[in-house]
Point group: C2
Chain length 217, copies 2
Amino acid sequence: MPRFTPTERTTLHRRPQRGSYDRAVVAAILDEAFFCHVGFTVDGQPYVIPTIHARVGDHVYLHGSAASRMLRSVREGIPVCVTVTILDGIVLARSAFKHSLNYRSVVILGTATEVRDRAEKNDALKAIVEHVAPQRWDDVRWPNEQELKATSVLRLPLEEVSAKIRTGPPLDLEEDSQATCWAGELPLRLVPQPPIADPKLDATTPLPSYIREYRRP
Amino acid sequence: MPRFTPTERTTLHRRPQRGSYDRAVVAAILDEAFFCHVGFTVDGQPYVIPTIHARVGDHVYLHGSAASRMLRSVREGIPVCVTVTILDGIVLARSAFKHSLNYRSVVILGTATEVRDRAEKNDALKAIVEHVAPQRWDDVRWPNEQELKATSVLRLPLEEVSAKIRTGPPLDLEEDSQATCWAGELPLRLVPQPPIADPKLDATTPLPSYIREYRRP
């Protein structure tokens, strides 16, 4: 199935032309975004917490301390919303009203399940490390039993999902076309800066190419 | 009052040393972040939606189409959570378990109120434009009555608020100190790229210095 089926809850009513239910579009946004925001409700109060995610096929994995409020709440099987947003630029229009941001976002609704299978849990943690730093897993010490026990991993199926994307120039009203101010886009990109070695690192340790040439998928 | 008073809901139980209730710290994070994620609950389902915010003193303003689900829901006076997160870098540890991100985040809990006063609404929209593009307001056409009517503005007080910040190198276990892999931080920064003029723009229109030299506060 190349597309998600829109539900009443994921149908975009505002600017539907910016919406997408294409699985490849959704996957690319989830894979490029470093982290997500997880929404969950406790005692009627919504909480929105940033955390790292990783997509594996038609699922998204989240992880955290087994003791954290987010993990303790979400693994109970309550409804969650996982949203990722990539900022692509500022849209400078001729009217205040038409200013905007260019962005790509994905909203996932559903219920997360705790991963208890040891192999799947290990694979999910590998996916999370590789999501942030591709090729890193093979260079580091893998989780031991104690660390696996201290970490909760949650799996959320990609079923009720929508993407929303804004690209391109400002969409000014015809009546503003004669305005004299500059108008256009200021693209923004998250750019790696020079790496900073751990002060405890042996100075002869080489910087791996996946850090020196770091880039998102 | 230089600090927010932690409540049961904003007290950081996990890694409290990373928390802050300092008003200046919170204000700086809110002002630097381009956008926030708004969490609200409808029929038991949490939704997390990215949107632009602006801080004015001890309040945060949000805006959107008067017809949007988010605005229609939130202005009913339901509990919301507004979270901003600035990603500062990747933390590459010697063990998979100790990998992390450096970040600065703020979580605001509360109830938003719709702004009906015309002057406050106009000032909030000015603050939102200036939040994204400082010095822009004076160059553009201001909202007319129809645009003001089509836009809802919400005000959320900064009362129940916490910040969380991670900085610095990986915190590896002593037992991993002899690992041979590289370890450290890869800082990330959101960097403006060359501006793209609107295709409809008169080519002689000068690029303003606040775009050419764009930087966050």
